[in-house]
């Protein structure tokens, strides 16, 4: 009978095993409902979405002032998505087409536009009972006038611009050039998808460029925090600097001589900033770059490429550190990232989380407000930020950034001319205005255009001026 008791004991063990197996089924199903569900419902592979879209009219996208950016109209019973504002908005809004799928904001906001992302079951029930077949309308923080103005300033050259409200993180304009007309994307797909200037990419969040001298803001921040007497130091430079056998030159027309750090920033001296960078050291420069958001995904409605600063442990020698101090070498940044950097200076060292959706309005009139500013992190203290601010004002008044000067309004800025393997340097300008009460911060890059002061500065100037005028 002993075997029988053992057998019964084993059967109880087997039963425990089944308890475990069935519990894991229930557990996984619960996990699935809580964490995976929403992602799957909104997945663009989900055929239900297309079925639903047949019956649901996709919501309208408006700009900050209520101008229509994208809407669905019915022509002879066929639904058609139109984008009245044209090319300037192509890479930002993307498209929504049964044939091509969805891209950019049309993709990112799909759940809202179809009205399927609200979690509240009572809400869903109400809509079902009332027979609502419209998605939600989305209001962006973008100013359509500003966006078009900025886009036209590129005159078809490759590049990108991001304009933020540094106090809140609201995106005021996000331009990628060349653009395209989203309404005609199906007809022109073959040309657009093969175009070597890649108009389909949103360069403002996906483009990775060496930041060049605009990165000196980060180097400067690290220096101000870590080198005690930096403001009184005088650097003498012959117009170049040699690091472990590699010669790094200042730009053509730079006058050799004695520079303090402020003047070195204004004249964008590579040789002086290399010296400062070497004094700051690998680890501190790396940490400051990460503080400013390098090597980290920016939380934003659109997926943004991660800006890169090489790990200091992998920086083989001082040459790399030297190049990093002036934004060359293996550093890469998106225009959105550089806009974040300059916003931090404008906002007293505080980086706000960028956002582009201001509010969502359901067909029943319920408003979901997304415009609450969220502090992402504090990267430098107010004193340091104000010093950098003053230096950047000097850049525009007396230095390389004169092209961004606005009469009667102090502007802070920094130019950059980023060496790259594809030809002429990329022209950069980052800045904000008014310098002592910032309302707008911009980052501009024009690919292979030459010097930043000459090519990117004027674009930034016009955009800032236009925006400040519109506020009055």
């Amino acid at each position: 009978m002993k075997t029988m008791t053992k057998l019964k004991r084993n059967i109880r063990l087997v039963f425990m095993l089944f308890c475990g197996l069935f519990l894991s089924l229930l557990g996984y199903l619960t996990y699935f409902q809580v964490y995976e569900r929403q992602k799957l419902i909104e997945s663009s592979y989900n055929r239900r979405l297309w079925e639903q879209e047949e019956s649901i009219t996709r919501g309208t996208i408006y700009d900050v002032k209520g101008r229509v950016l994208a809407k669905t109209v019915e022509e002879n019973g066929v639904k058609k998505r139109i984008y009245p504002e044209g090319e300037a908005f192509g890479p930002l809004l993307g498209y929504s087409s049964r044939k091509l799928g969805r891209a950019n904001l049309e993709q990112a906001l799909n759940g809202e536009l179809l009205g399927i992302s609200q979690q509240d079951p009572m809400m869903v029930l109400r809509q079902k009972v009332l027979g609502v077949s419209r998605g939600n309308d989305v209001y962006l923080t973008i100013d359509s006038e500003l966006q078009k103005k900025a886009y036209n300033l590129f005159r078809g050259r490759r590049g990108a611009l991001v304009a933020l409200d540094p106090n809140t993180g609201a995106v005021l304009a996000m331009v990628s050039s060349p653009g395209y007309d989203s309404t005609a994307v199906e007809q022109k797909w073959d040309i657009l998808s093969k175009d070597e200037e890649s108009p389909l990419i949103n360069r403002a969040v996906q483009g990775l460029y060496p930041p060049g001298s605009t990165f000196k803001i980060v180097t400067l921040a690290a220096a101000l925090e870590n080198i005690p007497d930096i403001e009184d130091k005088i650097y003498e430079t012959p117009g170049y600097v040699e690091v472990s056998g590699r010669v790094i030159r200042d730009y053509e027309g730079f006058k050799p001589g004695k520079y303090d750090v402020k003047r070195a920033l204004s004249m964008s001296s590579n040789s002086v900033f290399v010296k400062i960078g070497l004094e700051v050291g690998k680890e501190r420069l790396f940490n400051k770059a990460e503080d400013f958001g390098f090597n980290e995904e920016i939380p934003f409605e659109l997926p943004a490429a991660v800006s890169r600063f090489p790990r200091f442990s992998l920086m083989s020698d001082n040459v790399e550190l030297a190049e990093a101090s002036i934004g060359q070498g293996r550093i890469l940044a998106t225009p959105l990232q550089m806009a974040q950097v300059v916003s931090a200076v404008a906002n007293g060292g505080r980086i706000m989380q960028p956002y582009i959706v201001q509010k969502v309005v359901t067909p029943l009139g319920e408003v979901k407000d997304f415009s609450r500013p969220v502090l992402l992190k504090e990267v430098i203290d107010v004193v340091t930020a104000n010093k950098i601010r003053q230096y950047m004002v000097d850049v525009v008044e007396n230095g390389t950034g004169k092209s961004a000067r606005i009469r009667g309004i102090p502007v802070a800025g920094k130019t950059g001319s980023a060496e790259n393997p594809h030809g002429k340097p990329h022209a950069w300008f980052v800045g904000f205005a008014p310098a002592y009460d910032p309302k707008i911060a911009v980052a501009v890059v024009v690919e292979n255009a030459g010097s930043g002061g000459g090519n990117a500065g004027p674009i930034a100037r016009e955009v800032m001026l236009h925006y400040l005028k519109s506020l009055q």
């Binding site: 053992k6 059967i11 109880r12 069935f22 996984y28 199903l29 699935f32 419902i41 055929r47």
Partner: protein
Amino acid sequence: MDSREEAIYNKALAAMALMGFLSFLLLSIYRKPVSLVPFYGAITFLTIVFIGYFFTGWIFPNSDKFLFILAGFLAELGLIMLCRINPELFKRQVAFFAIGVGFFILSSILTKYFVRLDVAPFYFWAATAALLLLPLFFGVERGGAKNWLVFNGFTFQPSELAKITFVFYLASVLKEGKVNSIYRLGAGILAVTGLLALSKDLGGAMLFYFTALTVIFAATSRLDLAVGGILSAAVGGIISYNLFDHVRVRIEAWLNPWRDVPGRGYQIVQSLFSIAEGGYFGTGLGLGRPDFIPAVATDFIFSAFAEEFGFLGAAAVILMYFLLVYRGIRIALRLNENFLVLLALGHTVMFGMQIFTIIGGVIKLIPVTGVTLPFMSYGGSSMVMSFTSLGILNGLWQRALEGEDDDEA
């Protein structure tokens, strides 16, 4: 039988009838043009349920009524989904259900009066192997597995019957509580699993193998065999992953279905979309789109159910299956002869494993392997053989009660 128990049974039956009437009425109205097929189907179904219930109650006053009620309820839920997905399959499934109930009663009687203890295990093994060999020679391929036989338009899946003979084999070979020849037992089990793997029925192979391991462990208390068995299963899995394309496809579709959504990952991704769409409360009967899932009537019926009845419905189904397993274990614990205990345990484990394999598969907890969900999936062989196994459990329950009466006497 005391009246309290009777009242519980009656409540369960009433719930089942109510659920059936409401759902089939909805389906009748929902279809355009309005069709009475679901309604007649429901009447037929419920009639069979009640006839089956009272008939078993009449011939076996001590019958384990929960087994029949649970299976009937699950079959009803399966039929509701089938009726919603494809009315043609629904009509045939009602017929399969009727046959299944017949087999339930038949196998209850046979088990109660005729199961003998002295049949040599070899005969059961030979029957299993023969059943699995047949389709390899004469079978046709359906849904990637060559495990179907066709006679005059009727199709039959011998591996469903083989499950029963295999459990008999395990019970008889292990009835002394020890392994006489580990080599002979191992070879016997590997041959059976090998035959299933040859017909590309991976789910079946897994099912038979793990059922065998569990029963061997229970009978012999030998942990070394269980651990060794699991290890060799892992080794075998890795080898077949590298050797066989169809194994690799399944594993990859499980690990990352998103890499190839239109191809390898299609089925599992559609299943997940379906479950996600359902949410907690479901879209409501007839309002989801389970028809996007390939093989939704057979292997993926659970996903369809989860879409339209939601997480709550799906959890209820899982709990009902759990109760079924619980009843099976309870029967095994009440029996007093090794052979019968192992028989009850073997059938219960086979049920439990099968349920876990397919539900776990369609929710992507484990890789998908094509086995049916007992009582709910469309399919004659599965329905009839599931009821036959259940009948065996019911017959064993009768013997357990008889044994107790004898002890008391």
